[in-house]
Subunit: 151 residues, 10 copies
């Protein structure tokens, strides 16, 4: 699996300046996951947000216009190749879908009726929960319920 050129450039700059995603997010006024999705070419920034990000990453002025254009253009989304990810951290989320997908569907539909959880009107956050037996990752997905329309 490989990263896009945009992500490679911005992640290398991020390592050089030593800022975390949370610090970048607070400069743009957005969540750390959203700023990471922008860096991976999966979201669209306003010109102001893109400039703030490029400045925070200390991108040389000469390289900024091309990157600014990429960050503010609506991207063709979807970043995994092969389509079933081989990276172990990413695969676990695919495994959750394989093992808990149908139960999740049944519980959501029982509580909300026939419809879906939006992946567009949607937020995603990551928290660290301390635990003496080993800290835990807490991923929270929050999406608007959209009921099927009958016509």
């Amino acid at each position: 699996m490989t990263l896009s050129p945009l992500a490679c450039t911005l992640l290398a700059a991020k390592r050089r300046v030593g800022l975390s995603f949370a610090e970048l997010g607070s400069r743009l006024g957005v969540d750390e996951v959203w700023v990471a999705s922008l860096i991976h070419g999966q979201a669209t920034a306003s010109a102001a947000e893109a400039t703030t990000l490029l400045e925070a990453l200390a991108i040389p002025a000469a390289e900024q216009p091309a990157l600014l254009e990429q960050l503010s253009t609506y991207p063709v989304k979807g970043a995994l190749d092969p389509v079933i990810p081989t990276d172990p951290l990413l695969y676990r989320f695919y495994e959750i879908l394989q093992v808990y997908g149908l139960p999740l569907k049944d519980v959501i539909q029982e509580k909300f009726g026939d419809g879906i959880m939006s992946a567009i009107d949607f937020t995603l956050t990551v928290d660290r929960q301390e635990d003496p037996k080993g800290d835990r990752v807490v991923v929270t997905m929050n999406g608007k319920f959209l009921p099927y329309r009958k016509w």
Copy 2:
């Protein structure tokens, strides 16, 4: 996409008795998502849990032994065919992985180091968040962080 015979039988019984997953879960002392994953053949019950479930679903006594054996045997897990699900509710979770997978990986690794979120020492819950613009689905995944071992 089709359901397993086990799930078809138990979900039909559930519709007949009119109990929710939450009500079934409280009888077994487990979460509603876990009981749904048991019904879909993705988890293993103790004999006591399996019997409680079959009684709650009013399964005739003659059919209970075969179902009890299925519910208490370690299953071969994974329930989606085709492997990229076509059901719109399920697909949204695959889409989240395509669009937000790499950002999620970067944020988790920045917070925890090289490793994964366990999908085994793991819980999954679904909540309904009221919202005047349309209620929202909140899915919370909570998994132990497992750091890569160096040897």
Copy 3:
């Protein structure tokens, strides 16, 4: 490619009673495409709608309860196997996506911003447009625009 048992049963009954999808739709108070999607197991009817449909199709009383349960249960959706359809009529819609998908994306995004056309809050109609050089099929898709949320 094959049809589901539900669709086979209901389509055979429909041929026997000689009603069109439009006539069935008017009895249920819904569009002809929606009633066809119900028959193919891709939508959920209320008990009243399901009963109206089964009566209109002259389904024997003994067979009605099982079909009524299927029609009013939230289905696992998605009906094409193989996933790229081989039926020529269906394939043309896949071809439109291959040839005109990216242009469509660009035009929608230029008019609406970054987001999608909902396939849930969505209607689909088919009209016949008379034309001396050969009548034309007019397919109209109407879906709510959903802008990406920034968080």
Copy 4:
């Protein structure tokens, strides 16, 4: 998913000159979707149309001949990789085919007989329908019905 070099070049030029697809379409005397499909290498322009487009996009004279040749050569069509698109906007059209494909086939065939809607003698338009609950995307496909020939 990535764009072709032709599309990258022309879309970047389009952003620089700030013209919409509709404005480009009116200069060529064609619909906005068709001009977008030309830019994505899915249609063939006459030399006059190609020149008009390149002038409108302010392409430097030195770069015009190569682009003019590409725009006026019959392309090898089909632009999605992977073949089931991962971009959420594009995927929704694939999902419509999965969920409403068989119903659509049945309704078209009931109205027209055994045959297909042409994707060649075909037009595609996008309209914005204002709606207080959120504006709606209206996609209209209009294709000649082609009946199967018996021989």
Copy 5:
């Protein structure tokens, strides 16, 4: 690779009565390839044609109604599983597409412009050409040219 139940039934009957496809075709007033495509569930017969075929094949009266309904219903077409055929005779046609597909496209487009050969307004015949070095199969495809529409 397997045949559909419809094809198995009709081909077994055909072997029993000992009629060739050409003889069946002449009874229905159609080509031998078309009658074979009907038997394989890839075309639709009128009630009269279906009855003529079933009589010619000496199908018992009790079995005729179900077969007549199948033969006169618009089929979901496409009969190869796996999608790249493993049968050597069928594979050769796929190989011709792999090896001569792009040359064929170029020659057709040079002679006709941008468009396609219709596979709907289309006929297909098979002839035997005697040759002292070994007889030859002559397959003739004849389809209407459909030019792309500009809009």
Copy 6:
């Protein structure tokens, strides 16, 4: 879908000199489809044929040796990626195989016995048949019948 570098170079030269495939074929003493298959890297030319072609296409002398070597080396054949072509003109030939493949197999075997039509001792021609309702493409495949050997 993309073309090989060899095909791109030779097709661009062909457009510059303005010769048709038929004209190129007559210079080499071969059919227009065969010369197109040579240009797409699917056939092998003698040194004399390759030189005649390169001269006809006005390829500069400095570039001729490398191209001559490519044209006269036995190629690794097969040119479609993805393996089921997305180009609408090419796809129609795949669709013919899906819809008419098994009928074709049955008719060929009924006329010739168990065996195949050779795709090696094989010719392929394209003709234009004038028709007031729209001209027609006639594709003729002519291959030696090869019976299965019993041993």
Copy 7:
């Protein structure tokens, strides 16, 4: 991987009667590999050969007609599912193609020119070669060379 019903029936009968493929082959006057390919539904027998085989396998008279029809009908060939075989003995032949396929192609073409080894006018035999370090399997493929035709 599973066997066809035809092969299951005939192989079970073969185990009951205790005859080897070589013994069956000598009764039919054919090679042991060919008789095995007939039993797996990959070749066509004459009525006399099929009867000899069924008698040798002691198939009850009542079951013979259906099996005789299957053995003497031209089969749809190709027997591996999934298409890349998982059985280790079969996989080794696929591995030979992966590792030695291109070398084999080059050597054959160097000796014979552009063309193929026929898999139709073809024989295949298996011999046991004694060797003190472990006996060896010798597989010999013998196919007519077919040169590409230029037209």
Copy 8:
């Protein structure tokens, strides 16, 4: 399908010097097929063998070290892309596996017991057998039989 850079370089040199695989093989003291597999990056040479080969191919001294390293490093083997080869000569060997694979397995196992023919302790040769009806390709595979171990 494309060749590796190593194979392209060495095969071009081979054409320039005009040596056959058999002649190269005799200089290295190995079979012609083995030397072809070395050139395609599917086998490992000793430094002496690699040097002999590069000298025989008249590779300039400056280019020899890099090629020598490649030829004497254990390669990652397997050379076909796509995995089911589209080249007709190569495909025939895949077709032999589809059509004669299970018969071959049965005959080998009947003669040797449960196990496999090794593709490692293995040789492969190609011979030309003269035949007035057309010369024949004889491919001989010779591999050690390896019985399954029980433990």
Copy 9:
């Protein structure tokens, strides 16, 4: 993912008699993993071993002959569908191949030269290693090294 009928029958019997794989193995004089592979239809037993197993599992006499034949026939091996397993326990072994496959190859080749570890002359054992931080699974694979033959 589903189990074969053979495995379902034998595993249900094993649960009824309450014997472990190790206990079954000691009755047959083989390892517990080998007896499990026999039950899953991936190995061949002698008639004596098969009878011992069926007796140990208390299979009724009437059902023994059919099972005995299955257990002592050389199976078509390979049991995973889909080919990349979705069961989390099984997937981890695939993941080990994705992440540690190339390192493993390099270390084996550095220690042994160009060749493979046999999966035929091969044993596999599972041990439990007690550990206060959580017991550990120890999987030991032991296969004969097979060097590539040069010829």
Copy 10:
């Protein structure tokens, strides 16, 4: 199958300096397999470990910073393309999963309960076992057992 640029660079340097993986591992204080997995971009080194490795491999100072960054960044893991490996040494491990995967699962679950062997808290070693009939490869996998959590 190809290697990553990182692996190509480091493996070429390793050949030049002539150190084994075991020697490199002892310099870093880690196992030889782990150092090989680092070189293949499947593990993360500390800055000190990365520097030690680059020095041991005699990488020129100018090239060290870029490589050091790659070695100490959390990689996107998974290195096999195509996903079912074609290299014979690697394939054998996939074959072990196909043939012995379900038996392994059953034995592990019988000994440990429902859960998995971790591939994260995991070590992998390779040993050479001398054997007069041919030395043997011993691969030992050691992973923490993780029981499924019920909630």
